[in-house]
């Protein structure tokens, strides 16, 4: 049950309403997560959840965009997965983010679901998060107190939990465009080819210098950590190396080790550990331009 809805036309109006109804408001954009969560209680006839105000931000203009200026890519929080997957800038500058957004849900979900929603919902299996993490993306949050910028990796507190305040709105996510010499890859393993939640995923961003050595590396796995993170030990295993099987192998092992360090040994570890290593290895080679398939 909801208390009602409001469709503010400016960010200011939205912030004002949110600050007045901190405890019982819910921001709605593409609604693909909100509508499912609203339903869960109703569908089997058991207890109802706390009633909320729906604060619909889709009437606020100017929150859906992809800009590329001065080496910075900025994506408005209301930009849909569909638009990101089709954006010429994204496909050209960070194709692995386009791949990730293209792997979300289904065409219908990608039409509606937004990158802001994907970030704020904070699912450990969210498809857009590994590439954004590998890019060291930052977020701009706004509220009546003014804007604040946070690193994506600092935004999350745990699965489905973030540091966003009830009266804050995510305005945009931005990151520095990687060097044109860099390579990237996003691989997702699901149980099926569409409408699939990631069983595991991994994003890799690499750069190789003139001498052929890996000069920069960012590796961010998905669906195996409570919240998005780069695996620096894996990255270090690659930096300074001329791409070789051994270095790639040890980098991939680091990802598996780190997963166990952070998440602990769980019922799924036996499967996820070897598989996240295998996926990482493939993603590294793919980012290096070597497609193993």
């Amino acid at each position: 049950m909801t208390l009602g809805f409001i469709r503010p036309e400016t960010v200011y109006e939205a912030m004002e309403f949110l600050s007045e109804h901190k405890d019982n408001s819910r921001i709605v954009a593409g609604a693909t997560d909100v509508m499912v969560q609203m339903r869960s209680a109703k569908s089997t006839g058991h207890a109802e959840e706390k009633p909320l105000w729906m604060v619909d931000i889709t009437n606020i203009p100017g929150l859906s965009y992809v800009n590329f200026e001065n080496g910075i890519v900025r994506i408005g929080a209301m930009t849909t997965h569909r638009d990101i997957a089709r954006s010429a800038v994204i496909r050209d500058v960070v194709p692995f983010l386009a791949d990730a957004c293209r792997s979300v849900g289904s065409p219908q979900i990608r039409t509606r679901g937004t990158i802001g929603g994907n970030i704020v919902n904070a699912s450990p299996a969210a498809d857009s998060l590994p590439p954004l993490t590998a890019l060291s993306a930052r977020l701009r949050l706004i509220s009546r107190k003014g804007p604040r910028d946070v690193a994506l990796e600092e935004f999350f507190k745990g699965p489905y939990r973030t540091i966003i305040e009830p009266d804050e709105i995510l305005e945009e996510v931005y990151f520095e465009a990687p060097e044109s010499s860099s390579g990237c890859a996003f691989l997702k393993l699901g149980r099926r080819e569409s409408l699939a939640i990631a069983r595991l995923s991994v994003a890799v961003l690499l750069d190789v210098d003139e001498s052929g050595k890996i000069s920069k590396a960012a590796i961010a796995p998905g669906a195996c950590l409570p919240m998005p993170a780069r695996i620096t030990s894996a990255e270090e295993a690659l930096i300074g190396e001329i791409p070789n099987e051994e270095a790639v192998h040890s980098a991939s092992l680091e990802v598996g080790e780190e997963m166990v360090r952070v998440s602990g040994v769980r019922w799924s570890t036996e499967y996820k550990k070897p598989v996240v290593c295998a996926l990482t290895k493939r993603a590294i080679w793919k980012a290096l331009g070597v497609d193993e398939d």
């Binding site: 109703k42 569908s43 006839g45 058991h46 207890a47 109802e48 393993l189 099926r192 569409s194 598989v275």
Partner: protein, 774 residues
């Protein structure tokens, strides 16, 4: 080119236009003046005593018209297709999580929803059993008092002497295979609307009902009225696959009780979550096979022990497991057989009819076993099967001699394996022993399948053909459209037999007040049984019309042909009349132009003690071969290509036969690699399509449908069956292909990521989350 005018042609479906325009009426599309909405409160625990049920607060909520419980039922408290053991509303004890405790009937579904939260139920949890082996172990808790040892039923089959057979064998293998609980996953959830009649105590129920006559019987029993007081009208069905039988009967009965109590129409529509929690599923089987063969590859003996998880109620378990006992050895000559199949009660979601009906499980076991045995013998799996395959005159495990139809097993096996390139590819892929990266494999599985109900029960069906004075035709059938294309097939048969045009026929939705009880639309029996009844009815009417035409064309009756909307003299086709003009003339002469057709299945027999007899009057043969790619690093199996060869006797409509093959293969693939309803201590964990995964358009492989036609002496125009055989073969074909690809033999379904990589699953089908080998 076909010698037929209408049948054997890929005619467009008769219900296509209404379905592509969105005008087809599904149950939830119906609305009646004053209609109320029912929402069901379900059990909180799979096995619990109900100490107190207090509905007063819910009743007081404005907009709530009634809260229905067991106390409101005027007639039988429980229903069931075999035994009446499933309560429409539970009174004292819940047996599984889907049990209905009470139902709120309100002005809107939202009010009904709110009222559910106001019903107070006090439970006392009872001890539970979720594992079949535990259920049959000594000293196990007894779930139902009339079923000692929790055994629903036991079917033995004895042929020859297995001890001798094993002695004669050079190789004896023992293997255990296990299959999972799966969901029909029709896209339309269950729904029914009951409308009270003008006459006292009568009711009409519209619904997504697979078997209108079963629903009628159950509704009448629950209301405590005679059958003719209940009228069932089947709406367009959004899929069923065996699934909208007893569960929908219960929903119809709840709606009918509520409609009579309130005097207003009552609609019940399950949410997807409710559908998965409440509806019965396909039985999980634990199958122990012991097989013996000589060194030169001849099967000598098979000993089979099967436990089928029936869940909480009897439902169709006795019939499902009976098909298993008949077909458990597969389509192979085995001189010595000892089979025991048991249905077993647990507190899991109950299991019942689902496309395949006791065959997909045993085919997974027996076709995996054939490959394993061939490997032990150092033989090619294809040669090994061909050496033992049923041929004309072979004797089945139940002692039936296969000589009344064409035994086409070898033909379908050869066609399917050739189409996939089995022999060459198998050798080439087997040499690739890399356990890394993506590797390919091929495999196949073959089956024979009894057509229709067999010795399960009464097997007869009716149809009504009524020609109107303008030559248009009404066709009524006791068997019902489930989405498979029955209306189209039956209309083709009627048009062929009458000699009218296909487009002259209007197929009427099945209405129990019009047509005789024809049993259920199950067991792939529609074309054979119902089709024969349609043909019988049409033939009777045609004879009347031919008589009239003979008179008007001044030619002997037997020299006139009726085809394609015309009646003409064979020798001189120019002497002809339009079908509609003949109808007009016949009407003018006061002739009866309607007839009921009836078809009773040929005699079959079964000895319950020995499992010997003529189980089915005819059989179909099928083979599916698959090529897969296995990712050795992730356990992911991709099915690349499937060739499916099925002997259908005669394809009444090749396009709908192909549709059945595409759909059945895809469902079989889901069974093989994706699907599983996860229960954790009886609690349904997979509740919607985000967790219960069926194949999407991007998962389906290339499929090569191969229609084989060996006309049968019993079916209409030689037609047999296609619905179920398409869905029973792919899982073992995939398992065999995975073995060929990477050398891993997986004896449990599904072949999901974890099971292929690790050899066991981390998804818990039963009990707690964790390894299923623990």
């Amino acid at each position: 080119m076909s010698s037929f005018t209408v049948v054997n042609h890929p005619i467009s479906r008769i219900d296509a236009i209404e379905k592509v325009t969105g005008r087809a009426e599904f149950t939830d599309d119906l609305a009646f003046d004053g209609m109320l909405h029912g929402r069901v409160l379900r059990a909180k625990y799979p096995h619990a005593k109900i100490l107190e049920l207090d509905t007063r607060k819910a009743e007081e909520l404005p907009g709530v018209v009634a809260v229905i419980t067991y106390a409101d039922i005027p007639g039988a408290q429980a229903i069931g297709p075999v035994r009446p053991d499933m309560p429409v509303f539970v009174s004292t004890r819940t047996m599984y999580l889907g049990d209905a405790v009470a139902m709120v009937v309100a002005e809107t579904p939202e009010i009904a929803n709110r009222a559910l939260a106001l019903i107070r139920v006090e439970y006392e949890e009872l001890p539970t059993i979720f594992d079949v082996e535990e259920a049959v172990s000594e000293g196990a808790l007894q779930l139902h008092k009339d079923y000692p040892g929790n055994i629903v039923n036991h079917y033995p089959l004895r042929k020859g002497n297995v001890e001798e057979g094993f002695k004669e064998s050079d190789i004896v293998l023992e293997r255990t295979y296990t299959t999972q609980l799966i969901e029909h996953a029709y896209i339309e959830p269950e729904a029914a609307v009951a409308v009270p009649g003008a006459a006292d105590g009568t009711v009409t129920v519209y619904g997504s009902i697979q078997n209108p006559f079963t629903a009628r019987r159950h509704v009448a029993q629950v209301l405590g009225v005679s059958l003719n007081r209940v009228r069932i009208i089947q709406c367009a069905m959004g899929g069923s696959f065996g699934g909208k039988d007893d569960v929908v009967s219960a929903i119809c009965a709840r709606a009918a009780v509520a409609a009579l109590k309130t005097g207003r129409p009552v609609k019940i529509v399950n949410t997807r979550e409710e559908s998965i929690i409440e509806s019965y599923k396909r039985h999980p089987y634990v199958m122990k096979y012991k097989v013996g063969a000589t060194r030169c590859g001849k099967l000598r003996a098979m000993e089979i022990h099967i436990l089928a998880d029936a869940g909480s109620y009897v439902s169709m378990t006795p019939f499902v497991t009976w098909r298993s006992v008949v077909q458990a050895t597969g389509p192979y000559e085995v001189p010595n057989v000892k089979t025991d199949v048991y249905g077993v009660f647990t507190n899991n979601t109950y299991t019942g009819a689902m496309r395949g009906f006791g065959s997909p499980q045993i085919i997974f076991a027996q076709e995996s076993l054939m490959d394993e045995l061939a490997e032990e013998l150092g033989m090619d799996p294809l040669e090994f099967r061909l050496a033992n395959a049923f041929k004309q005159g072979s004797v089945t495990a139940s002692g039936q001699i296969l000589d009344e139809h064409t035994v086409s097993l070898v033909q379908v096996i050869e066609k399917a394996t050739e189409a996939i390139g089995y022999s060459e590819k198998r050798k080439a892929y087997a040499e690739n022993k890399a356990q890394k990266g993506k590797v390919r494999g091929v495999g196949f599985a073959a089956s024979y399948r009894g057509v229709s109900l067999g010795a399960e029960g009464v097997d007869a069906a009716g149809a009504l053909v009524s020609v109107q004075p303008d030559g248009s035709v009404y066709l009524h059938s006791g068997l019902a459209e489930n989405g498979q294309g029955l209306k189209t097939i039956f209309s083709q048969i009627a048009a062929e037999e009458l000699g009218c045009r296909f487009e002259d026929i209007v197929f009427m939705d099945t209405d129990t007040s019009v047509i005789p009880d024809s049993g259920a639309t199950v067991a792939s029996r529609s074309t054979t049984m119902g089709g024969s009844a349609v043909r019988d009815a049409a033939k009777k009417v045609r004879e009347v019309l031919l008589g009239v035409a003979a008179e008007l064309l001044n030619a002997p009756y037997e020299e006139i042909t009726a085809a394609g909307g015309k009646m003409y003299v064979n020798e001189d086709p120019a002497r002809c009349m339009e079908f509609k003009d003949v109808a007009k003339a016949a009407y003018g002469k006061g002739q009866l132009m309607a007839a009921i057709g009836w078809y009773q299945a040929p005699r079959v027999s079964w000895d319950e003690k020995t499992g010997q007899g003529k189980a089915y009057f005819t059989y179909v043969y099928g083979c599916q071969a698959a090529e897969v790619e296995v990712d050795c690093d992730t356990g992911q199996v991709k099915v690349l290509k499937v060739a499916a060869a099925h002997d259908v006797g005669r394809a009444i409509n090749p396009a709908t036969v192909e549709g059945q093959i595409y759909g059945g293969v895809t469902m079989g693939m889901g069974y093989g690699i994706l699907e599983e309803v996860e229960l954790q201590d009886g609690v349904t964990k997979t509740r919607n399509f985000d967790e219960y995964l069926i194949p999407t358009s991007m998962d389906v492989p290339e499929i090569v449908p191969i229609i084989v036609e060996n006309p049968d002496s019993y079916g209409p125009y030689g037609a047999k069956t296609i619905g179920e055989p398409t869905c029973e073969l792919l899982a073992p074909a995939i398992a065999n292909a995975v073995y060929n690809a990477c050398g891993k033999r997986i004896r449990r379904l599904p072949l999901d990521l974890e099971r292929v990589l690790l050899g066991y699953s981390l998804r818990a089908a039963r009990g707690k989350r964790g390894s299923d080998e623990a």
